[in-house]
Symmetry: C2
Subunit: 328 residues, 2 copies
């Protein structure tokens, strides 16, 4: 987070006054007070132009507490229906894929519906007769707005290709809703080439032909899975940025690295801040600072291209190098 703010400060024009407010949320706060995201802080967050979220999570906190009580609460409360996750294989970065395919796609993951709604429960919990359910909720309202966003993004890119990923041969109700809306909106974008893949088949192409993808639109859970895989094939989760966007502007959008909090290396100076710095670029683009966003992305590409990789750099050193490049 410190490196993200360092680069943000360095890239902004002199006349732009940056005001930041820090919110102490996450594992430490929960341990100290039992709170995840009190109402007052949720209210206060609404007054900001954007949120930069440090990765959350710690093994000392029961699974789900911070995820549902903080991260997902923010995504739902601020109606972040476009979860934007670009994947690009930068030069001079390691990929587990042989032959280094040309990867440059963006996943538009739905952020407010699907299996993430928290609708479900458990009966006779802990007994041999337990039944547990999880309900995926999908609405035409929610699907259409994210599909429209994805078409607009595809139309604005050189290749103009949009792939819908779902599992409509098994999840027929949600799947048909997605497919029908995808086809309907597509009629308004004759210049966009479209494609449909089942999620299982999509994972195959992520490793065998990732260059075939341009923009992908998919539901909340499939998007979660696919974007981690995408991060892995494009040089690792240390480089994957994301935006939780409310395109209407009614609520602040939120930007965060795709990776977790890596509690095992916290404070050691080994964490790669690049994903956070790239998330700052997405934040700037969202607020209209296109030139500054592009400067950060260029700085990252150059930094990766020129690093020798012989001596590992500390978190601070990478942040300093990027800040120097963007202000230069």
């Amino acid at each position: 987070m410190a490196q993200g703010l360092k680069v943000l400060t360095a890239v902004l024009p002199q006349d732009v006054k940056l005001e930041t407010q820090e919110y102490d949320l996450g594992a430490r706060r929960w341990h100290a007070t039992g709170e995840t995201l009190p109402d007052a802080e949720l209210e206060s967050l609404k007054n900001h132009d954007a949120i930069l979220l440090g990765a959350i999570g710690d093994p000392s906190v029961p699974s789900g507490v911070l995820e549902r009580g903080l991260l997902l609460k923010l995504r739902f409360a601020f109606d972040h229906y476009v979860n934007l996750r670009p994947s690009k294989l930068f030069p001079n970065t390691a990929t587990p894929l042989a032959g280094r395919p040309d990867i440059d796609f963006v996943v538009v993951r739905e952020g407010t519906e699907g299996p993430y709604v928290g609708n479900g429960g458990s009966l006779r919990t802990g007994t041999p007769a337990e039944v547990a359910t999880e309900v995926s909720l999908n609405t035409a309202y929610g699907v259409e707005r994210v599909v429209r966003d994805a078409y607009a993004r595809a139309a604005a890119r050189p290749r103009k290709k949009l792939t819908l990923v779902h599992k409509n041969n098994v999840l027929v109700h949600a799947g048909h809703l997605w497919k029908n809306i995808f086809d309907k909106v597509g009629a308004e974008y004759p210049e966009v080439t479209t494609d449909y893949l089942h999620v299982d088949a999509a994972t195959i192409f992520f490793v065998t032909q990732p260059e075939r993808f341009d923009v992908i639109v998919t539901d909340n859970l499939f998007g979660d899975i696919l974007t981690d895989l995408a991060a892995a094939v494009t040089g690792g989760i240390g480089l994957a940025a994301s935006g939780n966007i409310n395109p209407s502007g009614a609520f602040p959008s939120m930007f965060e690295p795709v990776h977790g909090s890596a509690p095992d290396i916290a404070g050691t100076g080994k964490a790669d801040p690049t994903a956070t710095v790239l998330s700052v670029a997405l934040l700037l683009r969202h607020l209209g600072y296109e030139a500054e966003a592009a400067r950060i992305e260029t700085a990252v590409a150059e930094d990766l291209a020129e690093r020798s990789g012989e001596v590992p750099r500390t978190t601070d050193e990478i942040g300093d190098a990027l800040a120097a490049r963007v202000s230069g």
Copy 2:
């Protein structure tokens, strides 16, 4: 299918009389009669020791009709709760992964519950007010039996390692059911090393460290996704075999390649029958013909190791080569 039966016939001892019955199910039948799996045929199938299923599906049939009406109907009707999918990187096969990691794991995918139960619906279908749901149903009964099967398999393997894959930080109800049962049964297997991964993180390790996996147990949908990815990293879906197993023996188990029906190359002699032949090996092992199963697997490994790859072989030629090896 013809090659699978050819190899099956070739591998069986002289004194074993093989009786086969062909069922004409799938796209052709559906087009001709509108039927997917009539009750009489479902009843008749019960009288067999095992089922070998050719890949189903055709773009001319609406998505979901054959999947739900035939394939999933069989899995549910015959209570195939262990969906067994081994992944092994054979020598001399192409993998998209650089550095050719050593891959040899098996996914035990739950086959009768989760988001596959067909529980859900759509309200105001096709209107801007549509709501569509998919309900994942999970029971202690269903989870415990597949988790027990997975522990037993892990305990019988040299590395004795079992990984549970779920998403229990978001799908908290189903996730906690799985995790609690996984931990509880684990107490009976102190020799098995256990691990838990969220499904998104698991996809990362499938491409960065697949050698870390030995046995994986997971739910129906996550298993569907992970096994296609596993097939991709171990040389492609042309080699991936699977068994839909009812360990109690109350119903016949069913064996099938993981791949689809590839209607674009049907009848051209280009399809690789290896996944079907390896499914025959799983079938034989299930029925107690361990030596014959191992002979088929050795034949496949040798066939792959010795092929030149210069001239592509036809479906028939590969089948003949494998049949010759197993009978030799």
